[in-house]
Amino acid sequence: MDFSYSEEQLMLQDSVQKFVQKNYDFDTRQSIIDSAEGFSRDNWQLFAELGWLTVPFAEEDGGFGGSAVDLIVMMEEFGKANLVEPFMPTAVLCGGLIAGLAQGERKGQLLTQIMEGSLQLACAFAEGGSRFNLACVDTSAKQEGEQVVLNGKKIAVLNGPCADQLLVVARETGERTDRDGVSLFLLDPSTSGVNIHSFANVDGKQSANIGLSEVVVPAINRLGEKGAALSVLEAAVDRAIVAVAAEAVGALDTLLQKTVEYSKTRKQFGTPIGTFQALQHRMADMFIECQLARSIVIMAAMKLDSTESAEAKTRAVSAAKSRVGLAIRRVGQEAIQIHGGIGMTDELDVGHLFKRVTALAIQFGDADYHSERFASL
């Protein structure tokens, strides 16, 4: 048993910490969010140079190793700094889908482009009626000879506005929630019939709703076997869940730390508010939440890296996402409450972290959804 990070993981952590300290103060982050693309291409190039974009990938795919523990080391640091660059959508989620489904030369090309930093990707899986069920797909894919015609509406496509390519989940056969019949297509967003409605999320992240109307893609753009993409999609999303949960753990740590600091300096009734036991015990509870959240995310990452069954892995991931979802509510709300009015303002980073973790709690399924998924297995 060993819960310490390896030498390589410590170096990775150090490298992210140094970058963040140098390049990611609150004002810089705000100016990045306010920029046209909502993230910094320069930063992204730097990520590539630092080798960070190889972290999600296995060595045989040219990556750093692809362990989930490596991933949480990075994501925690990203979370602490509330980093906005689309690492999760491009490298973790879409990278995982390509590594799991694409074949041969195309796979090599796409992965190389991701790791070099020259490709932005977004995965369109969610729909208006799907909530968090990945098998619920109304978007249709009809094969006509060498082509496939896509029709449907996708929502909540993170990094959709800036994606060079989209990965679209569509149904080829079966009923709305059947596990069989779901395929994944690589789609050029400039294709005729693709209508991208871009917007910023509450946490400043770029997202999109995407309409697909008689969109024609070559059948060779189907990644993997026809109608058999769901299990790979679920596995890739499970990995992405551990990534966002780790990001939340980092962000919650910052929220706790900033709240404790503030309570030591903010005076009311002639004394720092941190001397009031009514607030102290709430901060102790925030600490407990942070520790439990971190513990269960480590558990899930270790399970993903283990040789246990797919079901055991899914259970672990859902347990983690559910528990972190609770921690997000408790720590996030208390951070705002203990800061009082100043915590409500747009000028303080605490509120921005609160918004970010709230989005993370919803992403890929909230606490209740994952508690139910956990119980059903």
Binding site: M1, Q280, I288
Partner: protein, 399 residues
């Protein structure tokens, strides 16, 4: 990073498991599964079995007859004991007074007291809390006045667990009334047969006199029973309180109880033609408890891993007590919810050996309310959960 035990540790796990399956008496296991209390003789008998195996004191050093186990081995042992339901040795001698004697006692005191603790010949109880000194333990007033080679002890201790079984009591007593309250306290060992000691049982909410009030009326205690220096007792007691903060989360026991909840839920009608296992609300609560147990298990493993590489158990381990006890109490609530009417008849005798009645409902439904009442103690004893939160604030958050 990995949560796996080494090959040696796995072999040890198998050894412990086989030992428990063979040596933990089947009739005790049956009683524990049926929520029947073991008698003093049965508890002592079980501890003697562990003693003969050389496993009576997992945390003691080899010099004193302990196992010399690593933290991982102790964890494995406690886990296997918890999973099978075998009671851990009564902590007052083994885990509480013995480490203080080892650290601060004289060679004579070590030779006199430690072997009998190890072999379960002597049953110890704790004399800390007083009617007016609970969380504010240093406010204790029981006095010990030196008179020649003796101390004369007067006062009252309370919440004394199983004092009715005890041969000896370790006490915090006030030896200097003029000093700051923490600085006038001494650590004194007292024979329970001493003239002037009387015991008054305190019946708890489950009808069982698990604890006592102990009165000291001019009790004469040989001065050689003082541990360490006079007026340094608070320091020694604090060491004891930070001792053994691992294996306190109750994860193995929690796992056993979770399985029991699942079994009872599957056997409990929901009144609409299904069982409580089909009740979405209940299943949600059960899942939440199971998830919390996982988080707690890994929080404890992280503490254990830190200990294993020589780090001291930090005040962070206070969270194990808080979360472990609050989770156990959540499970008590679920047992009550499943039991419904079945737990309302007041039957304190159902925990006693030889109980002839037929408790209502599946599994241990009939005892759910009494267990729920009794386990409210969990967040009160061992430093109340509010005190644990104070520790986190002071020593972790710097508040």
């Amino acid at each position: 990073m990995n949560a796996d035990f080494s090959a040696e540790e796995k072999a040890f796990q198998v050894q412990v498991r086989e030992f428990l399956q063979k040596e933990f008496p089947a009739e005790y296991k049956a009683k524990i599964d049926a929520n029947i209390r073991l008698s003093k003789e049965e508890i002592v008998h079980w501890q003697e079995i562990l003693y003969r195996q050389g496993w009576a004191a997992p945390s003691w050093p080899v010099d004193h007859g302990g196992t010399g186990w690593t933290h991982a081995q102790r964890h494995i042992f406690a886990t296997e004991m918890g999973l099978i339901g075998a009671p851990e040795p009564v902590p007052f001698g083994m885990k509480m007074v013995a480490p203080v004697i080892m650290a601060y006692g004289t060679e004579e005191q070590k030779a006199r007291f430690l072997p009998d603790i190890l072999s379960s010949k002597v049953w110890w109880c704790q004399g800390y809390s007083e009617p007016n000194a609970g969380s504010d333990l240093a406010a204790l007033k029981t006095s010990a006045v030196r008179d020649g080679d003796e101390y004369v002890v007067n006062g009252a201790k309370t919440w004394n667990t199983y004092g009715q079984y005890a041969d000896w009591i370790f006490c915090l007593v006030r030896t200097d009334t003029t000093a700051k309250k923490q600085e006038g306290i001494s650590f004194l060992l007292i024979d329970m047969k001493s003239p002037g000691i009387t015991l008054k049982p305190i019946v708890l909410l489950d009808g069982h006199p698990e604890v006592n009030e102990v009165f000291f009326d001019d009790v004469r205690v040989p001065a050689e029973n003082l541990i360490g220096e006079e007026n340094k007792g608070w320091t020694y007691a604090k060491v004891l309180l930070t001792h053994e903060r691992t294996n306190i989360s109750g994860v193995p026991r929690g796992k056993r109880r979770l399985r029991a909840l699942e079994r009872i839920a599957a056997d409990t009608d929901d009144g609409f033609g299904n069982t409580m296992m089909d009740n979405a609300g209940f299943r949600g609560k059960l899942a939440a408890v199971e998830i919390e147990l996982l988080a707690l298990e890994y929080a404890e493993l992280r503490t254990l891993a830190a200990l294993s590489v020589g780090k001291a158990p930090g005040p962070e381990s206070s969270i194990l007590k808080v979360v472990g006890t609050e989770l156990a109490q959540r499970m008590d609530e679920l047992f009550v919810e499943l039991a419904g009417y079945n737990c309302l008849p007041y039957l304190p005798e159902q925990f006693e050996d030889g109980f002839q009645g037929t408790p209502q409902g599946p599994g241990n439904s009939a005892s759910a309310a009494l267990t729920y009442f009794n386990n409210r103690k969990l967040s009160i004893f061992g430093g109340s959960n509010e005190i644990q939160r104070n520790i986190i604030c002071k020593h972790v958050l710097g508040l």
